[in-house]
Each structure stands twice: as structure tokens, then as C-alpha cells.
Symmetry: C2
Subunit: 847 residues, 2 copies
């Protein structure tokens, strides 16, 4: 339904005009606020969104209205005013009202050159954006005769002269901008940024403040913080005798500059006025703003103001500074930083301004960037590290035996695998940049090179840069930006800690991990996987002796040699974590992961063990499994080969006693993996309790500990009630739980997960984003039944999902006590948890 | 609390005496019934269980009572009378009351030899069972002077003469029998047979009917059916001048016999009397009874009656005959046959009377027995079968490529695996006897022999017999009993069909399976696995071409060559099943199962496909998976390589049209495997619907079909509601569902399942007995949500568990429509379902 002309509304901006962001757009509201601050804003009229929509729909615009919009000065600008500045909108059109008459008048006051330039700019703008003519025909720079030629081109293309009536010009400009908002491209672009399907646009018509003319004239922008660091610093641009932001390309400079004259020197008064206006705008708009201004013969006009563009690092600093200055409450500061943006700050980044020679693309599996020499084996990586040369480990995919190589490398690249492949999980844990599933490269391990697209060959020792944040492998060493764990970062996260109501622990297997967890101020270790501890060469040998032991006693003898090493492992973790909770998962993987798989390895093993090769081959063969994920591992080993858990429990308890001597008593948490039946927990608990009694007696020392269960089979979730009878805590291992709930091996899912997500078969990769509907229901069932049986049972998630904001929201809503994630995801998790607590407070459930 | 003597109860059996099985035991009740029938039962007194318990507890037995028990004849027998005859009880003691006086009296009437024999038997019996002396000292056969010597031995062992007072003798006998019931061994034995912990014993004291004396005297047993076949036939034993069942060893024969005189000839009157008593007992006791009788000088006495011992086959025949004769209702006939006993009747059995040379024992994985020559490869089995020589396939474990070898063999033996290993599952499906997990043998494949315990070596071609019913491998060819699918069997199962309220379908992949399913009168095919159809040599080659195709089009071309073969597969099934429902599962296994795994196989494949070996190796390598169970299979193939399902759907529809021309229209059921998300079903459904439209148009024919989902991931069970939107039926694949719910691969579980079940970690192997608590809950959730969304959705189980009575009870209680199981388990399932329907009728849920 079209609006009758007399009903078409507009309103001149005054301090009391009824302007709202929802009806007139953010720009109209922002300009009104500047006017309330008594900033020298030229006369501005706002067209409400409803009116703009009517214009787009073909509504006739009455001449009387257009005349009022044009006002006394006859020259106006028109700007878009969407509800949210992020949603884009049509480009600004300046100098509406220019015609032969205005040209003559301005030639008198400002000179012919300036006047012609203004007219030319308007004609070009109008021709391309309103008349939609070919921009190439209207691209000439100002100069003698250019205006004339351009008006001739317009005439020949349109078969009519350039419109001379200002009202007609304005009507066409308004309709053109209103319609641009409805275009398909514009709609898709803004919806991608989160705009609703019915997002609307207002328009703002403002008297032109010409930055040209006699005396000090010009135009520019000014902001009061650095866009990259966020620290306070006046920065901006100024050009004398200019107009509009597009023109602001070179000096005169804004601030004192050795290269030439600056506004600050030319007019300290006007500069001071800008500084004052800036402070006012910050205070009133509660944000760091960039002001656009013009100076006409010494008279300052503030034309527009926009939120300062900022890096993630600057966003943190600005939010903290505004809060510390009392401009905004801390809660607002927290909500102004997007949690995922923090992960950028933890790592080196490829400088976005640097040139990039992309050699291949894969899945961005672990953020950050690193430069190093290519190596193809874990041992080569270790050798390289020993020479202090940064190296990048390139594998088809990684396996547990590559762990030490990954530790030695600065980044990891694999040809296969997905977001939750071994390489990706470990790299995220280590904070190493990592790209997986890089199927564009083909590795030749024998001759130690890989071939990229277009047959480019990269050999061992060649230098590449791996950008794990966007999945690109770059040729050579790219320019880098450093991590930004500065005071602002720490302050913000401390505020987050005061607000959040769910614990954030870190998954940490090594002292290095634990130190990272401490650095990122996790609430403890939620998952310490102990199997990685057995891949050191000296331990691996003993492990293998243990595996090949013929009797429980021989097994015990081998394990006794591992005991002091394990004790030291745990002692180190306890010391680093200084009394924070440490949750240790008992040995989990199948034993065959510790055995060699190739003939050469078996021959070496046979020699080392002094057994016939045939026997070694037979034993390795007998231990192999069809589906290791579903095989003899976790508590199944604990029940059938109990000596391993006995040793680990003893190591934990002895380390507990030693570590407790230095300070507060340690209360270790021991977690049983892969449980599927209550009786498994009973059996393991009985033995571990016995070990505890024995250690207490031997050492004449006392300690307490908490025994819990890793819930990672669907059955454990369903039977969580009876399992909780013997468990002080239940921690959901969502990686395995997802695998079993879907019947989907994450190591094998990579081959079709892309297709699946693209076709919408799964909304998301369930290994990446927690599957709330399926796995999530098992979490709710398990938590509910566990709590029902034992109200004080601690409930948590320790899978890869733990650090995702979506998972944190889910776990919080379900009343979980904590989530545990890779150390490098702890900051994101802390902030995300704070966001959820602020946006949807829950009652009476303290951390 | 001890009972005062005057309260100690006993009651003489008369037609109206207050005798109940629960208070006096089955024998007392049985004898009372014989008395009511006016059978000539000697005077009998029953001691109620309460009294017997008091005696066992030390209660004094008043002499007056003992005197009454002894009665006028002074010679009595004492028999146990437990509530249920299956529960055992103390042995009968005869001739209580024998002493020097009686010896003298009997010598007069019956002669010295008979009298001494009676006394000797009593002394021996008393010495060993009451005085608990060494049986070896009291083992002499009757003969001159033996009685004297035996009394001397008694004296010297007991330091007192053999008790001469009949009351004293009886008191000791009663106490000894009462206490024997309380012994640990007796208790464990009866509890193993299902007796409750507080099972009690009555005792029966009966005047001796001596089968010795002048005129026609003797004792014997008579029954009126054959114990092995159950058919009507008078059979039994008679010995003149004898006493008690133990004595009845040789003739005089009961019935006419060429070897000598018989009771039938000697006294047609008494024989006719026995026949008459037998008929009366059958009618009154509603059971086939064996009568124990004695004849003293031409006077017949019926001493006891017991249920005829019977084979499973006889049990069926007897139950059916009794029902058809109107003695019992059909419902009783059904309940009198234990369902699992039927499986014995379906197979050849090793004759239980034949000698057995057991060479090794394993897990009895598929019942029945077979004799054949050992072979070690599938191809050797096929070669042997081609020469019509029965062979037994011996493998470490079987894989899909062994299928044809298994078809060719008469039995299968594997060194590894459990009840649900590939070999076990397939063998049960084929009805082949099978032993798995036979770790006592060590196979040498290269030299084609295996070594059994004690180093016995068996080479290819050696004959062995495999008893899949008890897990024994026997040397050579053992004597066999034939299967018994006779009229009685069929009649009983038809009665079962009229009673049961849950459908029983068969899992059938081949025409042979389908014929077996028809033979056992399944309600249709509940699961037809199509992947086995692609292992024929000619098909395998095309399959591999399909797998190696570079484009969807090449893939389609290869599949077009498989289409006519698949169409014939389905056509054959439809024809055999003659309009009964056939549920076809679309292709399920990972593609790598169809590729060679060894270098030689790959070389052959490369040659066959005319591609470089390196490419074949690379492709095979790329398709390999860490956890095939959780990998690229089932609907995941259907979504990513849709051409396979397209071809299968077309083959099904074309076969449907062809098969429907001969009779009633076929309505095929198409089942999608390994679903974990609703969208998978939508995608496959869309394509299959399109194929249906295309086939209808091309063939100018109409048909309907039902599309459903195999629920075998926990997520599918949880999301069954939305999945049912697109599924006409949900069939739970409990094999995979169990694997995923437990996180346990059935192929790998064998290594520790024994330990787990023995230690009670799991109550039962969950692959054998449905895990009601975990997997069962998912079944209930899935069925409930499915029905909630779509009340008419068909719900069933098609996993290995389907045929277990426990699973049938569960599925019935949950309101499932049918279960599907191996064809050879169908009869057991039909009968079990009838049992549950009779024992716990449910309302208003027809099949």
C-alpha cells in the first residue's frame, strides 16, 4: 500500500526530535546524539525507514517535501542509515543540487577550479549510481574542459541534458538509494552479516559543509585510538581544500608531521575543538568514534561519526579502557569482545598486509602461523629442533608415535584428516598451527618431497609458512604479527572470571601443557591423558617388555621400572598446578599402539626382547584389532590387565604425598576411561582403594583422592545413575561419545564429512560442534541420572567440544560444573562463559 | 523351633486325604491320584515337608509314630517326595524292617535265597546311606555266607550289631534321608535345576510289595510311549522273582519277545490290567507315565509312577498326542515343550550313545553335527563340494570372502572368535554346525594341517566330526541321529502360531535361506542382506570396476552390468516367499571389503582392470579404514555414491513387477542401513522415489513399496521420532546397536568377553543376550518416539538377538510388531512367542 504524499514523513534532527535507531537507522540516531552534545553538525533531516521503503516501492515524492529537504543552502548530501552499521547500505551521494546556476555562484565564492570539480564529481556520481551508466565513461579526473565533456557524454547516453532542477536530482537520488537496499546482492551481503530478512534502511539528508573556500578550509577524519593496538593516540587525515572522505588521500596532515604542514599547527584552536568533540562523543556514545569533519573558512562542521574500525587486539584494549574510564560498565566491556576473536591474540599471525604466495589450501585445524623448514618424519623434526631450526612436520596423517616430532615442530601439515583427526587434536592442544586434509599436496616420502598444485615441488628443508587460521600454506617466510597477551587481555578475562558461573579447565598431558594452562588461568586440569607419557624411547622399550610379559609377575616387574617415571610425571603436573585440581585419566589406548607395525620394527623389537621374530610377529598379530576404537582399551585393559592401573594409581599417590609436602594438600582426581558397566568401576575402585591403603601405610602419610568415570559410551550415559554410586565425578568424553552415538570414526569420517555438511546431511561436523540433539541428549540423560543418584557428583565435559562457545552454553544450561578444553582455547572459553552468564543468568548454581 | 512329638504329622493316602504337592511333595500327590483311580497301590503314608524338616533339624520321632508307619506288614520302603521331581532327592530305601525275625519268616514263605538277598540288600543300603560306611566294604553280590559276612563287617565298623528293631531302623532311615536333602551338594544340584533356595522335601513310607514268592511273582516298569520318538508303544521291563527298579535288569520280558517268556504271555490278564492302569493314569495325571509295579503270587501292586523320560523329539510328540486325544488343552501342549529344545530337532545330532574321541573343544556357536574332510581354504571347500565330498572348513576366523567356502562346507571350525563372530553368525544363518574360538588347535596354513592338544596332527582330507551343539570336535565319523521335522513338530508350531501375538520373520540372504525360512514357516523375511550377493566371482569383478570408476558415469555403467543379476536375486526371493513380506537392506559394507588385501591380489586386480599396480595399491590404501565398523558404509555410501542404491532400488522394483505378474502383488520393503540423521533418510528416499517413478513409467506397471530404516546407531534410536517421518518401519539392528552402545566391536570382544562374563563385569555377553538395561532402553526410546510420530510405524528387531526367547519377551512387552532371526531359529522363536503370549497375555495388539 502506497503512502499518500501528505503522509510522507521526515524530521529535522534536533536534540528532542523523536529519532530511534529502529525507525530511522543508526546514523540518524548517532547524528542526533552529536547534536545533543552541541557539536557543530550541519542541518540534517532524517527520512524514516518506512518512508524509504515507500519510495523504493514507487511512491511519488512531493516537490514541496523535496524543497524542504534541500533547505536554504541548496546543496545537500544523502547518506544511508541502516539499523546496524555492519549491514552496509548504499554509498553516500554528495553535492546534490549542483547545476549551472550553483556552478556560477560557487565560481564566484570558491573559484572556478573548485566549483567545476564539485560539479564534475556530482555528475559522475549521479551518472553511475542514479542513471546507472557505464562507470568507465565517467572516470575522468578534474581538469580544463572535463566537466563540459562529461555533461556531453551524459547527454548523448541519456538523450536528455543533465537534470538542472535540484528537486528532480534529489528525488532520483533518494529513489536510487532506496532501491539499491532492496537489490539481491545487497540483501545477501547483509544477511550474511546477521541482518534479518526484513532489515530496513533510513536515509539522512544533510546540508553540505564544503571543505573548500577562502581561509582555512578542508576536510578530514579524526579518531583517538590506534586501530591495530587500541591504545590512545590521535590519528586521522586532513586535506586542505577538500571535501568528503574519498578525497582525504594526502596532506596537509592532521597532526604534527615532519613531512609537511598539519592542522594541529595551522589551527591549534580547531584542533583542540576536535579533541574536545572526540572526548564528548566517546562519553556520550560510549564508544571510540571516528569523526568526519569539514572546515569551511575556519568554521568547523562535524559531518558524521562512525565506530572506529579495530583489530581483535584493539577491540580488547578499547573495551577495557572504556570500562576503566567509567564510560561503560565492565559487563558491557565483556560483551563487546567476541570470544572467538581472542584466539587470534594467542598466536603469531601472518600480517594481513603482507603479500601471500599460496601454494596449497587445507582445513584450518589449529590457529596461528609459523615459518619453518619442511620435514617428513618425526625424527627429522627432532633433529632439526636439536639444531634450533624451526621446522614444519608434513605427514600423510599423524599417529601417536609422531608426538615427539610434533613437539619438535613449529607447525604441522597433513594430507588427510579432519578437524578432529589426531594431528588436529594434538596440535590444538600444543597450540601449534596446523592444517589437515590438505589433499592438494602429494607426498613422496621416499624421496622426501611433496608436489603442490601446478606441479610445484617442495623438498625437505625448503621454507614454507603455514597459516593455521585460514588453512593456507605459503611459499617462503611471510611477515608476522606477534601474539598479544597484554594487560588488557588479562584484565578482561579476570572480569570474565568474576561473572561466569561454570568452571573452565584445560586438557593438559605434559608439563608444557600444564604451564600453558596456568598461563591462561584455567581452573585446573580437566583431562590429563597418560598414554602420551609412554612414547619416550626409554619408556617405550619397557612398555613393550610389559606387553610381552608372560605372567602377571613379569608384567609387574616391567611396570615397576615405569613407576618412578610416572611418579615424576605426576609430581611435575601437581607442582605446576600448585593445588588446582588435576584430573588424571588412567591408561586408555589399545596396547598394539605401542608395538611396531612394519617388519623392520618387529625385527628390532625381537632383538631388543631377545625373542624369536616369529613369536614377536605372532604376538603383534594377535593384538591387532579390526576396530581398535571399539576394542581392548580403557577400563577393559584395567580389568583384564590390572597391573597397569595399579602402577598408575601408586605413581599418582606417591606423587600426591611428595607434592603435598610443599604446600596445601593435593587431592588428585583419577578418571576411568571407556566404562560401559557399573561393575567395571567397582572392580577398578576396589583395586585403587587397596593401592591407596598400601601407599598410606608404606609412606606413613595420609591423603584423599576422588575417583570418577569418563562417560564416553552411550551405555555409560544411560547407566550413569548406578555408575555414579561409585564415582565422585562424571566427565563426558564427547569425542568418543560422538563417535559411538553416530557410529562414526572420526579418523575415517574425513572422507565424506565435507560432502555431508555441504549437503546439509549433518548441520555441522559433530566432532567440531557438539550434536545437541543426539549426543547432547545423552549428556542430559547421564547428568540427570548421575545427579539423581548422587546430588553432589561433579559433572563436566572433557572432549574437544569443551572449548566451543556453543558447548559451553549447552553445559551451562544443563548445570554442568565445568568444561575442559585445550589450553589454547581456555581464554575463549572463559570469555564465552561470561557472555552466557551475562545474557542468561542462572540462579543459585555457583562454580 | 522343634515340633513336639504329638504334633508330628503324617497322613495315610486315601482318595480324600488332604494331600498337596506344595506340602507333601509330588510323589505323595501322584500316589494319591493313583489311589483315586483305584489302582492297587499298597498302604502308603506321607510325611509332610514340615515334618521332614523338623526331623532333619533333630526332632525326636516318637516310637508310636514309627510303629504306625511300619503298619501291619512290618516291611516298608521310604521314598523322597520333593515338590518337583526334577529337583532330585535322596535315594529310595527298600525293605526297612528286615531283621533276623523277618529273615526267618520270609525264608519260610519265599525260600532262604530270596529272604537272604532281601536282608543283604537292606543291610548294604543302610550301611552306606544311613550309617555312612565305606560302600566298597558293602558291595558283595548275594551268595552263600555273604549276608553273615556283611553283618560282621557292619559290627566291626560300628562297634555294635546291625539294629534289629524295625522302629529304630525306620527312625534312622527317615533322619538320614531328611538330612541328605539339606546337604550342600544336593542343594546346589537342585538350585541349578531351578529349585528355590527354600525348596522342601516330603517322604513317603509304603508297605513293601515283594516281587518274590510262589506263583507268578516279579517286578517291573511299563510305559506306553517310546522315550526317543514319543510314539505310542508299550515298552518296559519285567523280571520274575525280583524287587525294585534296580533289580529289573533282565527278562522275563514284559512284552512278547523271541528271546524268552514274557509277562504278556504268562498272564494276559495282569498285562491287560497294566494297560488299563496306564490309560487311567495318563487320563488322570494328564501325562505319559511310567508305572512301577510288583506282582506277588499273581497279585498286582502299583508301587510308583513317574513322568516318562523323553527326548526333545518325544516331548513334542507326546504333548501333541495328549492334546489331540483331548487329555490336555493345546495351550498345555505348547507350554510343555521348552522352546530351545526344538533347535535340537532341526539338525543332525551325534548319537548320545555313541563313543566320542574328543580332539578339541571350542564355543558351540551353531547347533547340529556333521562329518567331513578337513579343508583350510574356501576354494578347497568348493573343490571338495564339487566332488560331492562333505568337508569341514577350518579357518583362523572367517571373512566375507569365505562365504562361498562356507556354503560349500558341511560345518565350520575357527580358531578365534565368539558367539557373534562372522563365522558364528553366518553358520547359524546357514544352519551349518559351527565351533568358534577353538583355541586348542593351532593351524598351519602353509602345510595344511592343524595340531590339537597332545600334539595330535590332523591334515587336510582327514575326517572329523564337528558337534556344534556342545562345541566338541571328534576324531573320525561319529554315529548320527537324523533331524525330526515330523507332523508333531509342525502341528505344535501351528498351534503356537494361533496363540502368539508377535511376528517371527527370518533373516535370509539367499534363495536357500529363503527356502529354509519357508520350511520353518516364518512370517516373511525381516532382513535380506544384499552385500553377500556381490562376492560371486563374476560379480566381484564388476564390483571392483565400479569401485575403481573415475566418474559417476563409469560407476553407473559398471552397476548396469550388476543390475540384471540383482534383479534375478530379488526375483528369486520374491518367488520363493510367495507374497510374504521381504525386507531388503540396501548395500551396507565398506567398499574395501571387496578389494584384495595382499600384494598378489592387487597385482591380479591391476591386470584385470588394466591399470598400473601403483594406482591400485594407492586406491586400496586410500579406501582402508582405521575402524571400518564406524566408517564409510551403509547410508553414508548411499549418500556419497548414490548410484549403488539407485541400481538396487531399480533391481527391486523390476523384480517386484515381474514377480507380481504370477500372483498377488508384491510389496517390497526397502531398508536403509546405518542411519544417524533424518536428512540421510530424506536424501535416499527422494532418489528411490524417483527410481520408482521411472520404473513405473518405463514398464507401464504399478506397484507400491515400503521404505524403512535400520536403527543401529544410538543416535538413530534417539532421533527415531523425526526419522519415522520418512520411514514406514523401524527395524532395530541390535548387533551394531550393541557394538555402539557399549563401544565394543564384536570381532574384537572375543579376547576378553570370557573374562568379563566370568568376573560378572557383564552379566551376559551382550552380543548373545540382549542387554535390556542399556541397548534395551534405546529400543524403548526409539520405538516410543517412532510410534509417537507415526502411530502405524512397524517396529521390529532384526539383529542376532531376534531369535532369543529373552529378546522376544522384551520385544513383545514393548509392543514390537515382529522379530527377525536366523531361519534355523524360527521354530524356537515361534514357540517361545506362544509361551509368552500364554503366560502374560497382552491386550489388543494383534500381529
Amino acid at each position: 500500500m502506497q503512502k499518500a504524499p501528505e503522509q510522507m514523513e521526515f524530521v529535522e534532527l534536533t536534540p528532542s526530535a523523536p529519532i530511534k535507531t529502529t525507525t530511522h537507522g543508526w546514523r540518524a540516531k548517532c547524528l542526533q546524539r552529536l547534536i545533543r552534545l552541541e557539536l557543530p553538525v550541519p542541518r540534517t533531516v532524517a527520512l524514516p525507514c518506512e518512508t524509504v521503503r515507500a519510495i523504493a516501492a514507487g511512491q511519488y515524492i512531493d516537490t514541496a517535501i523535496l524543497t524542504k529537504l534541500l533547505g536554504q543552502e541548496f546543496l545537500v548530501s544523502v547518506r544511508g542509515s541502516p539499523e546496524n552499521p555492519e549491514w552496509g547500505g548504499p554509498g553516500t551521494v554528495l553535492n546534490v543540487g549542483m547545476n549551472a546556476t550553483m556552478l556560477a555562484r560557487l565560481t564566484e565564492t570558491h573559484g572556478a577550479e573548485a566549483a567545476e570539480a564539485l560539479y564534475l564529481r556530482f555528475v559522475q556520481n549521479y551518472a553511475t549510481h542514479v542513471a546507472r551508466l557505464d562507470p568507465d565513461m565517467f572516470a575522468d579526473e578534474p581538469g580544463p574542459g572535463v566537466l563540459r565533456r562529461t555533461l556531453d557524454v551524459y547527454f548523448s547516453e541519456m538523450d536528455e541534458p543533465f537534470p538542472q532542477d535540484a528537486a528532480t536530482q534529489l528525488a532520483h537520488v533518494l529513489r536510487s538509494m532506496a532501491r539499491a537496499w532492496e537489490g539481491t546482492t545487497a540483501r545477501l551481503l547483509r544477511q550474511a552479516k546477521g541482518a534479518p530478512i526484513d532489515a530496513v534502511l533510513g536515509l539522512v539528508v544533510q546540508d553540505m559543509a564544503l571543505g573548500i573556500g577562502p581561509g582555512l578550509s578542508g576536510s578530514g577524519t579524526i579518531q583517538f585510538v590506534d586501530s591495530v593496538t587500541g591504545s590512545g593516540q590521535v590519528t586521522g587525515r586532513f586535506r586542505g581544500q577538500s571535501q568528503g572522505r574519498k578525497e582525504v588521500i594526502e596532506a596537509l596532515y592532521l597532526t604534527r608531521d615532519p613531512r609537511g604542514a598539519s592542522l594541529e599547527e595551522a589551527s591549534p584552536e580547531i584542533f583542540a575543538e576536535l579533541i574536545k568533540h572526540g572526548a564528548g562523543a566517546r562519553q556520550k556514545l560510549r564508544e571510540e568514534m571516528q569523526l568526519e569533519f569539514a572546515i569551511a573558512s575556519g568554521n568547523l562542521a562535524i559531518i558524521d561519526a562512525v565506530r572506529v574500525v579495530r583489530s581483535s587486539r584493539a577491540a580488547v584494549r578499547i573495551a577495557v579502557d572504556l570500562a576503566e574510564a567509567g564510560v561503560i560498565p565492565r559487563e558491557d566491556a565483556l560483551l563487546r569482545v567476541e570470544p572467538r576473536a581472542l584466539s587470534e591474540l594467542l598466536h603469531y599471525q601472518v600480517d594481513p598486509r603482507a603479500p601471500r604466495d599460496v601454494l596449497a589450501r587445507g582445513i584450518a585445524a589449529s590457529p596461528g602461523a609459523a615459518t619453518g623448514k619442511i620435514v617428513f618424519t618425526a625424527s627429522a623434526a627432532q633433529a632439526m629442533a636439536a639444531r634450533d631450526e624451526p621446522c614444519i612436520l608434513v605427514r600423510r596423517e599423524t599417529a601417536p608415535e609422531d608426538i615427539r616430532g610434533m613437539h619438535a615442530a613449529v607447525a604441522v601439515l597433513t594430507e588427510r584428516g579432519g578437524m578432529t583427526s589426531h594431528a588436529a587434536v594434538i596440535a590444538r592442544g600444543l597450540g601449534l598451527p596446523c592444517i589437515v586434509g590438505c589433499s592438494e599436496i602429494q607426498i613422496n616420502f621416499r624421496d622426501r618431497y611433496f608436489t603442490g598444485p601446478k606441479g610445484r615441488i617442495f623438498r625437505e628443508g625448503d621454507v614454507v609458512t603455514l597459516d593455521g587460521s585460514n588453512g593456507e600454506v605459503l611459499v617462503g617466510a611471510a611477515a608476522m604479527l606477534e601474539p598479544a597477551l597484554d594487560d588488557g587481555f588479562r584484565t578482561l578475562l579476570h572480569w570474565a572470571d568474576n561473572v561466569r558461573d561454570i568452571g573452565i579447565r584445560a586438557n593438559a598431558d605434559t608439563p608444557d601443557d600444564a604451564r600453558t594452562a596456568r598461563m591462561f588461568e584455567a581452573d585446573g586440569i580437566g583431562l590429563c591423558r597418560t598414554e602420551h607419557m609412554f612414547f619416550d624411547e626409554d619408556r617405550l622399550t619397557v612398555m613393550r617388555e610389559m606387553i610381552f610379559a608372560d605372567t602377571p609377575n613379569d608384567r609387574r616387574i616391567a611396570l615397576e621400572r615405569l613407576l618412578p617415571m610416572q611418579r615424576e610425571d605426576f609430581r611435575a603436573l601437581f607442582d605446576i598446578m600448585a593445588g588446582q585440581p588435576v584430573c588424571i585419566r588412567l591408561f586408555d589406548p589399545p596396547l598394539h599402539e605401542f608395538l611396531p607395525h612394519d617388519r623392520e620394527g618387529m625385527r628390532e623389537l625381537a632383538e631388543a626382547l631377545d625373542r624369536p621374530l616369529s613369536e614377536v610377529t605372532r604376538r603383534v598379530d594377535a593384538l591387532s584389532e579390526f576396530n581398535p576404537m571399539l576394542g581392548m582399551r580403557g577400563v577393559r585393559l584395567g580389568v583384564t590387565v590390572p597391573e597397569i592401573y595399579d602402577m598408575q594409581a601408586r605413581a599418582i599417590f606417591e606423587a600426591t604425598i611428595e607434592a603435598s609436602q610443599n604446600g596445601a594438600p593435593i587431592v588428585p582426581e583419577i578418571m576411568i576411561p571407556l566404562v560401559s558397566a557399573q561393575r567395571e568401576v567397582e572392580i577398578v575402585k576396589t583395586r585403587i582403594d587397596a593401592v591407596a591403603v598400601a601407599v598410606k601405610n608404606e609412606r606413613k602419610a595420609d591423603f584423599t583422592y576422588r575417583l570418577g568415570v569418563m562417560v564416553e559410551t552411550p551405555r555409560a550415559a544411560l547407566r550413569a545413575g548406578e555408575i555414579a554410586e561409585h564415582a565422585a565425578f562424571l566427565s563426558f568424553g564427547t569425542n568418543d561419545l560422538t563417535q559411538m552415538t553416530y557410529g562414526l570414526s572420526r579418523d575415517d569420517a574425513g572422507r565424506f564429512m565435507g560432502t555431508y555438511v555441504n549437503q546439509g546431511v549433518y548441520d555441522e561436523d559433530p566432532f567440531h560442534i557438539l550434536d545437541v540433539e543426539g549426543v547432547g541428549e545423552l549428556l542430559l540423560i547421564g547428568a540427570g541420572r548421575g545427579r539423581n543418584m548422587r546430588p553432589d557428583v561433579t559433572i563436566s565435559v572433557c572432549g574437544e567440544h569443551g572449548g566451543n562457545p556453543e558447548s559451553i552454553a549447552f553445559c551451562r544450561a544443563a548445570g554442568f560444573d565445568y568444561v575442559s578444553c585445550s589450553p589454547f582455547r581456555v581464554p575463549v572459553a572463559r570469555l564465552a562463559a561470561a557472555h552466557f552468564a551475562l545474557l542468561a543468568p542462572r540462579k543459585g548454581v555457583p562454580i
